[in-house]
Symmetry: C2
Subunit: 98 residues, 2 copies
DNA sequence: ACGCTAATTAGCGATTTAGGTAATAAGAAT
DNA sequence: ATTCTTATTACCTAAATCGCTAATTAGCGT
């Protein structure tokens, strides 16, 4: 959970997620959208991948990234339980904060 | 938004929020719940306060902290828009990620 | 003014993070 | 085998983070 939230706490990474929600994209395509070097983008991808927010698949010379919905849903459940005032329907998360 | 997510990406701080949701508490009361020094806790409070997730009010020699629901709701809205697959009703957040 | 309590700020060390350039790995194609 | 493209890993620097102890501020009560 720490990793997921930390991954989300950078606007570039959130923007990457936002883009991937609309469809898969290669590292190059994503990198082209931002004003930072490719290695820097590559590390952003790594952070997102470590948090399991995206998945990577090699396709020839390029690497295709895709959004992973399940982790986001889990996080939303936990966050609603933590700080939500709105009604929540299916909040069955098995996370305990120390 | 970065600050809010970063504030949430530490389990101690989430635990503090979780506790404050059940009612206000002084810095000392909160600090007593965790296995870290008071100065360290004090900085955690600062992070949460900077993110506007909690509010502080001096009461005599002690400082009473309280949970701030509005920011959490905003965040939840933005996060649902970003990574939610569940139905969302009132998602009217005015945040643009760079 | 002095002392006591509660909490913070100051300062330190170790670790992590975000950015960059240079070097490397993986595939495809000639 | 070499070359070209794509993307990563390696290495560096500057800045932020988390923990601590020591010192300071703020308020209350003698």
């Amino acid at each position: 959970m720490n990793d997921v939230l930390k991954a989300l706490s950078h606007s570039t990474r959130r923007a990457v997620l936002s883009h991937l929600r609309k469809g898969d994209a290669t590292a190059g395509e994503l990198a082209a959208l931002f004003d930072v070097s490719k290695p820097t983008m590559s590390r952003h991808f790594q952070v997102l991948k470590d948090a399991d927010l995206i998945a990577a698949e090699r396709r020839g010379t390029e690497i295709v990234y895709s959004f992973n919905a399940s982790v986001g849903d889990e996080l939303l459940g936990a966050l609603m339980a933590l700080l939500g005032t709105k009604e929540r329907t299916s909040a069955s998360t098995s996370e305990e904060q120390a």
